[in-house]
Each structure stands twice: as C-alpha cells, then as structure tokens.
C-alpha cells in the first residue's frame, strides 16, 4: 500500500468485463475498495505491460450507472421492460422452484443452457446444466460456427489443436534461445489488431514483424495488417477451401511439401479401397477375420508384400519397412476377392489435381500468379506459421475448409516446431473449459446424454463437442419434436443482438418458453424478454482461473460491486439446489479440484498469479510427437485413431463425410444462386471487427462508444458511386430475409463486389421495451442471415457469405 491509500493488485483477465478471450496481466489500482485504474503488468509475458482499450475502460464499465446490480424479476408482460428488484435468496428460490417444476413435468432435457462466445463460461454453465440433469448445453451461433469447427477438425486430423507459436510458452518470449522467429506468418481471414482472437494477443504479429517476420494476408479487405503484408490475397468470401487446395496443388506440383515429415508422421502410406462406392481406408479386418478394425494396411516396396500398421503399438508388422508412398495395388480380401487399392498419398494427389491455379483463380477471384506466389511463400519459408480466423468456420463447408487449411502445416511439417504451428493444450492440463462431456466438472448418465439435441443428426456433434446443435434446438422449440423445450438459462449470451442468426426467430422462441433466466451485466435486448435477470460480476469482482492455453493463471477478486455475483458462484449455488450430492461446497473446493493436474491449490496459483509449464511438460512445445508426449501411452505419434496425422480422415469416414478436403460453393453466391444474385448483386460479409467493442458488448461505455458511435457498412467507392451513395449517408442493406439501416463507410479497402457489415449492434441508450428493444432491429445484420443452413456435420453456416442489395435510405 502506498501512502496515498492506493493498493496495487496483480491479477489477470478473463471475461466478463473486457469481454475478450483474455489473458493479459494487469495491475489494478484500488482505493477505498474501489477500482480507480487498471494498467498493464510489465512483468506479464503475455502483454508485457500493454493493455487494450477495453481493459483500460474497466472503471467506466464496473461503475456504470446502467449496470445491473440486483436480481430482477419480471412484473409486466415479456418484453415490456417491467422488472422489480428482488433479493438473491428470492431469486434463487424462484429459479429453483420453477426449474424443478419443469424438470418434474417435462424432464431435465426440456431446459436449454445457452451460452455466448467461449471465454470462461463453459465450465460453469455445463456444471449447472449437468447438475440440473440437462444434456442441452448450447452455444447459439448457427452451425456452432466459431472455432469449434476448426478445433474439431484439428482434433481429428492431428489429435490436438495447433496455434501460431509467437513464443507464448516462454517467459522471455521472443528472446528465449529455443524460440525461432517465423520467416512467414500467413494470416488467413482475421483483422488481428482490431480483434481479440481466442488465446491470442493480436499485436504479437506486430512484435514479430519488427523482428523480421514477413506476412501473407488472405482477406477480402485490405486491412492495416494486409497493407503491411508482403503478399495480400483478396479472396471471395466462402472460397477459402479452394484457395487452400490451390496452395496444396502448387506445393505438390513444385515439390514443396516436406516428404520426410509426411512419410513419417501422416497416414499417407496407408492403403485405400477403391472398389467401394466411396473410397475407404483398408483395414486389417478386410484381410483377416482375426484382424483389428483399428489397424491399417500399407505396402512394403522391398518385399512387395503388404504390412499391417498396428495402431496400438504404433509399429508396422515389418519393423524395417519404409512403406510405398505412391502406388496402386491389388490385394486379396478374406473371402479371396481381389480388389484394387491405392495409397492415401496417391489419392490425395488425385484429389487436389483439379485445383489448378487457373481453376482456383476463377473460384476465389485471386489472380493465378498470386496463388502460386502464396503457395511458394508459405511452403518455402522456415519456420512458416499459419493463423486462421473465423471465416473458416462461417461457411457450411467448414469441415473440408478447415481440413484443407490444417493440411498446410501438416504437409510442410510446420507442426510443434519453434515458430511454426505449435500444439496448444490447456496449461498443465487444467481444464477450465471442457470440450467433451468427459472434460466437464460433472457427467451425465448415458440415457440422459443421448437426449442431447442434434446428437443423432450429426457425427461431429455426437462425438466431438458436448454442445446441443443450435439450429436443431431452434427448430425443436417450434416443432416440439421429439420433445418440448420449456425453458432457457441464458448466460453470457445475447442472441437477439449477436449470436442469433434470424434473430426474429430467437425472439419468438424465447418469448414462448415457460421460464427464462438471463445472467448478464447490463440490460440487453435478450434480457428484456426474460423472467429473471441475475447481475453478474466482472473479472475484477470474482475468483477464477484460466488455462487457455497458456499460462495457467489466477483471476482474483479485487472488489465487490453492489450485489453482483460471479457466474461461478451463481451456478454453484444452483447446482447444489438441483443435485443431491453435488460434490463442491464452494468455489475454492472446485478450483482446487480443477487444479489437481497442476499439483497446486488455488491459493498457490493466486500466489504465483500465472505459471508457464516447465520444459518437458506435455503441455509445452516442442516436437512432442517425437518425444512421446502427446499420446496417453507415451509412444511417439499423435492422439488420433491411427496415431498418425490423418490426411485421409478415419473420423470423417466414420461420420460418412468426405475424408479428404474439397471446395463447395456457399449456398447463396453468384455461382450457386445466379438468379437471386441478379436481384441481390453484392456479396454481404459480416463481422467487421471494431477495436473498442467485443461483439455486442461495450456500446454503453462512454470512452469506447466515443470512438465509434454507430454501425457502418463498408462499401467500395466505385460501388457507392454506382448506387449514388456518399460517405456517411444512411443506407439500407436488404435481402430476402430482412433489412437494416446503417451508415455507409465508403472505402477502397473492400472489394467492389463485396460489402462488409458489422455485427452485435444495439443501442443501450434507446428505448428498451418492445417493439424497440434498444433499436436492435434497425441495425442487426443477422436478420439477413438464415438459421438452418448448417453444414453437413452440423457445423458451419453462411454467416460471412450472403447476398444483399444496398440503396440510399429515405429521409
């Protein structure tokens, strides 16, 4: 404590408050139990003293006059905006009574637990859902189109997630002797300095540029970072798979792939049956009834015999084999039939054959020479790292798209190498945000888990992530089949303004439910519709922890604000009421148990504030596949069914999806719907990132809002002129689903045939009661984007590749 009465507390961030995916180290200045200033912590390796606008505005956020500070109960009609304050006891009693009634009358699965974008809520909301007994924990974005598709694809391809290595695993960061500065970073679809990517600090790329990294940026817009790139590829939204396949085509043609890596670590030598309607991996069971279906087959060129890949032992049946990479053979099955087979590598090459620069240029609008240049720049650089963004998820064909992009680092061998794409695990394996129900705090009995919505429709929904499929949930609310949905618990989510596509439908859906609760920090268009509203604490008002991905860190309760309560405490209290033998008494117990794999208590974590796993730990790079640090059995290799990087995916095969990547047109585009395109001649892409705001948050924070007062639509000067639109004018953006009115931002950074809109807008200063709902309907671009267009695996949706027309607004 300094003599001016100011205490300085060292802590770290995670939502809510800054909103962002967090990670920065901060120094909080507290006087008389009030936060008076937030500064960056110069000793924290993540941000090294820096801090962005949102954390610097925390005082305005925490002590905002409109902050929800007491539990509220609805007293008027839904949407009328009439609420009265109640005590926490009353709120908990009311929720307990209503939700238990629903559980008793309709079964626990009729309650949906609805969260918004990632951050810290996953662990706590799944805990509550499972304590209550519902399998329907959900993130409401159509097709779960935010990181989940990429995470899923990475998991099944190489058994783990991979992110750009910007030295985040080293305390000394770029100066660590083990680290190498990437020669090239490819930024695929993200405006990094203006965004808050998951587990990443956007300005690390500026640090890297200063240290010599060259950039390639793939983006329909020339953002600041694109303008600084050595190579900028302006692609048509939704054609990312074609571009990646074009890169792969060039890399293979020009021999720019890392054959040593591919031979050793991928399933390229495995044989594929081509006698079947769709090619499938040849398995040991095809050759011998006593074989195992998890074992695969390859060809030994020396003996000209077939060898078995034993997935359990991670060895070939002939120890000294170097299997054939490229070839076609004939093989006898158990019943004696002889069938043709090919190596995966042969199939893979055939698969990309059609993606010539010429064809890819036609699809993507990127000039041929730039496609070739891009492929060379990526593949010839060492190390070469690839950062990908949301556009990879926001297309129905997200599975083949993320697969194709993921393959780039597999084919070039830039995986878990310094300065490449490093495998990212929860630091010390501490799970603060579970993926599969297995990683969650509680688990559900199988007969309940089976009722999760979407589980029978989509393989990836069933096997990968424990979320209900949101498009199916919305549908089920209206059809009431196979069972009725009666209530919704909404926490860290604002589907009316942000995560909901066709928000008109979400509006109707939420209003028709029997009971809804919203946990938030401010009144929102969504909260307006709910029966009970609970005031949540910011990250400075709660104890928590984070391991996404590194460091493992403590979030410390620094002050209290009125009656606001942490999401964790709210959910813990209700979990106790819903579950008889709920195993945790308080949040400390819970945190201590989560920290077991780190071998520390929560108190010890708080004493350290943050901790980076030591060298040699399986949650720290490098080259863990060589060292046997990735697999549970300690053998070299990857955590996939075969132990290899699966270029031909056995998981996709199992889900009856194409096992190798391909391009698919977005559902609405000049190519797939030429007639519609005549009427709506511009490609509408959305999600333009705004530095001061995180998604739908922060519009009420004065310093931040002063930086941008209202939503804009980026439109090219030529296009604007064509439609008689001038800079700053109000324009209508319209298609067959809806219309919004926003301000034109006439700028050459956008392609003439594309317009870029912003998401998440509403006006906290406007009338909250219906029909206004804070003006959300005037500006929410999601009204132009459909629900129910999820991709084949239940993932992906056309959020960034719609069609529209633009014209001057009247008056």
């Amino acid at each position: 404590m300094k003599n001016d009465g100011v205490k300085i507390i060292k802590t770290t961030t995670w939502s809510p408050g800054p909103g962002c995916h967090g990670g920065c180290g901060i120094l909080v200045h507290v006087k008389d139990d009030k936060v008076i200033k937030v500064e960056g912590d110069p000793d924290h390796p993540w941000n090294q003293g820096r801090l962005c606008s949102r954390c610097l505005s925390m005082t305005q956020y925490m002590y905002h006059k409109d902050r929800l500070t007491k539990p509220l109960k609805r007293v008027g009609e839904r949407g009328q905006g009439k609420f009265e304050p109640i005590s926490w006891d009353e709120a908990f009693d009311l929720i307990e009574k209503k939700m238990k009634q629903i559980r008793q009358d309709h079964g626990p699965e009729s309650m949906i637990f609805h969260q918004g974008t990632g951050r810290d809520i996953g662990g706590w909301i799944s805990m509550l859902a499972y304590a209550y007994g519902s399998p329907n924990w959900m993130f409401g974005l159509s097709g779960i189109s935010c990181y989940t598709p990429r995470l899923m694809m990475m998991s099944i391809t190489q058994g783990d997630f991979a992110v750009v290595d910007a030295a985040q695993w080293h305390e000394k960061r770029y100066d660590d002797p083990e680290y190498e500065i990437p020669e090239t970073v490819t930024i695929w679809g993200q405006n990094l300095p203006a965004t808050c990517p998951d587990g990443f600090f956007g300005h690390w790329y500026v640090d890297l540029m200063k240290r010599g990294t060259r950039l390639m940026v793939i983006d329909p817009r020339c953002t600041w970072i694109a303008s600084r790139a050595k190579l900028w590829l302006q692609l048509r939204p939704g054609t990312d798979a074609a571009l990646a396949l074009g890169f792969i085509h060039v890399m293979i043609k020009e021999n720019l792939v890392n054959m040593t890596f591919i031979e050793k670590w991928t399933n390229a030598p495995f044989l594929v049956r081509t006698d079947t309607p769709e090619p499938i991996l040849l398995r040991e069971t095809d050759l011998a009834p006593s074989g195992k279906s998890t074992n695969f087959v390859a060809h030994d060129p020396v003996s000209n015999e077939f060898v078995i890949w034993d997935s359990d032992n991670q060895t070939y049946s002939r120890k000294d084999t170097t299997p054939s990479m490229d070839g076609e053979f004939t093989i006898s099955l158990t019943d004696g039939t002889r069938i043709p087979v090919k190596t995966v590598w042969r199939m893979y090459k055939e698969n990309v054959e059609e993606y010539t620069p010429q064809k890819v240029s036609r699809i993507t609008w990127v000039p041929e020479d730039k496609i070739v240049q891009g492929a060379r720049m990526y593949a010839k650089s060492s190390p070469s790292a690839l950062h990908w963004g949301l556009p990879i998820d926001t297309i129905p064909s997200t599975i083949p798209t993320s697969q194709a992009v993921n393959h780039l680092w597999c084919l070039s061998g830039n995986l878990d190498n310094p300065g490449g794409n490093a495998i990212a695990r929860y630091a010390y394996d501490v799970v603060t945000y579970p993926y599969h129900s297995g990683g969650s705090i509680l688990s559900l009995p199988p007969e309940v888990a089976e009722k999760r919505i979407g589980i029978n429709d989509y393989g990836p929904i069933k096997d990968f992530r424990a979320w209900a499929q949101p498009d199916k949930v919305l549908e089920q609310i209206f059809t009431k089949k196979p069972y009725e949905i009666k209530g919704m618990w909404i926490q860290t989510a604002n589907p009316l303004a942000c995560t909901g596509m066709e928000p008109q439908k979400w509006h109707k859906a939420i209003k028709q439910l029997d009971f809804t609760v919203c946990v938030d920090l401010f009144m929102t268009p969504t909260a307006m519709l709910c029966d009970v509203i609970l005031p949540a604490a910011t990250f400075l008002e709660k104890d928590s922890l984070k391991a996404w991905w590194v460091p493992l860190q403590a979030i410390k309760k620094v002050v209290e604000v009125d009656e606001c309560k942490s999401d964790i405490e709210i959910n813990l209290e209700l979990s106790k009421r819903f579950m008889k033998d709920f195993p945790y008494d308080n949040t400390r117990d819970l945190f201590d148990s989560l920290l077991k794999s780190a071998g520390i208590t929560y108190q010890q974590l708080c004493d350290n504030t943050w901790m980076i796993p030591p060298k040699g730990h399986s949650s720290r790079p490098y080259y863990r596949h060589e060292k046997g640090l990735l697999r549970a059995d300690g053998k070299p290799g990857f955590r996939t069914p075969s132990g290899k990087i699966e270029l031909f995916s056995s998981w996709l095969e199992k889900w009856q999806l194409a096992p190798m990547p391909y391009h698919e047109e977005p559902p609405y585009s000049p190519v797939s719907t030429p007639d519609l395109f005549k009427e709506y001649p511009l490609i509408l892409t959305t999600g333009r990132r705004m530095g001061p705001f995180f998604h739908s948050e922060h519009r009420q924070i004065p310093w931040l809002r002063a930086q941008q007062k209202e939503p804009v639509l980026e439109i090219h000067p030529d296009t604007a002129q064509k439609y008689g639109i001038t800079h700053g004018q109000k324009v209508c953006v319209e298609n067959w689903l809806g219309k919004i009115t926003v301000k034109a931002l006439v700028t050459p950074v956008i392609h003439p045939d594309i317009v870029m809109a912003e998401h998440g807008w509403w006006f906290p200063e406007k009338e909250g009661a219906e029909p206004s709902l804070f003006g959300v309907w005037d500006v929410n671009v999601n009204q132009l984007i459909p629900m129910g267009h999820e991709g084949k695996g239940g993932l992906g949706s056309p959020i960034k590749s719609m069609l529209c027309k633009v014209y001057k607004a009247k008056g």
Binding site: S53, A194, V206, V749
Partner: protein, 111 residues
C-alpha cells in the same frame, strides 16, 4: 539538453486507438472531450497501385506529456499501453539513438 520528446515509429502503428483510452483513463477525462492523443488514418494508393494504410497518433494541445507520471519515474500512460510499442518517450538526446533506420518516424516535441 534534457528536454523530453516523443518518438513515433508510426509505420507499425495499427490504429487500435488504445493510446487514446490510456490517456482518458489517466486523466479521468469525460468521454468526447479532447484527449491528449488522437489517431488519424490515411489510406493511400502507392505508385504500384497497392493500397497502403498509415496511422499517425497526433498529440494534441491537451497532451501534457504525462509530467506527473514522468516525475514518478513512470512512462506516459499512452506509451506504456501502446499495443504496438511504437511510442518512445525519452530525452531528445537519448532519442537520437532510437530513431529507426529503415523507415520514416516522427518526433514530437513538447513545445
């Protein structure tokens, strides 16, 4: 010559406007009032036809070069929090050695 000045390595300024908010917080300034720094964006077409975006933090009349912080041995609030580390605050003498070699930079003096 121990006059302080601000060296702006603006080629790396991303235009994130964090510096503006850092200054607002430091001086607890009402939103909308003139802050110590304002970032301006320039979009140019280079001779090659390529788009090029430049952001320049402009220090206004309201900037006091964080005299109070500097007296305490701290760097100015905007300098500490600049996301791209493009603001360098030092004496004119020391700054001479910090001028980047291969790109343009700006020197802002206190006046």
């Amino acid at each position: 010559m121990s006059e302080y000045a601000m060296l702006i390595d603006y080629e790396y300024c991303s235009g994130c406007k964090t510096c503006e908010i850092a200054c607002n917080q430091e001086y607890n300034r009402e939103a909308g009032k003139l802050g110590g720094v304002e970032v301006q964006e320039f979009i140019h077409f280079l001779q090659s036809g390529r788009l090029y975006i430049t952001n320049i933090p402009h220090f206004t009349k309201a900037c006091v070069f964080c005299a109070g912080r500097v007296k305490k041995g701290l760097t100015p609030a905007c300098v500490q929090h600049c996301m791209a580390n493009v603001l360098v605050f030092d004496t004119l003498e020391n700054l001479k050695d910090k001028i980047p070699e291969n790109r343009k930079a700006l020197l802002w003096t206190k006046g």
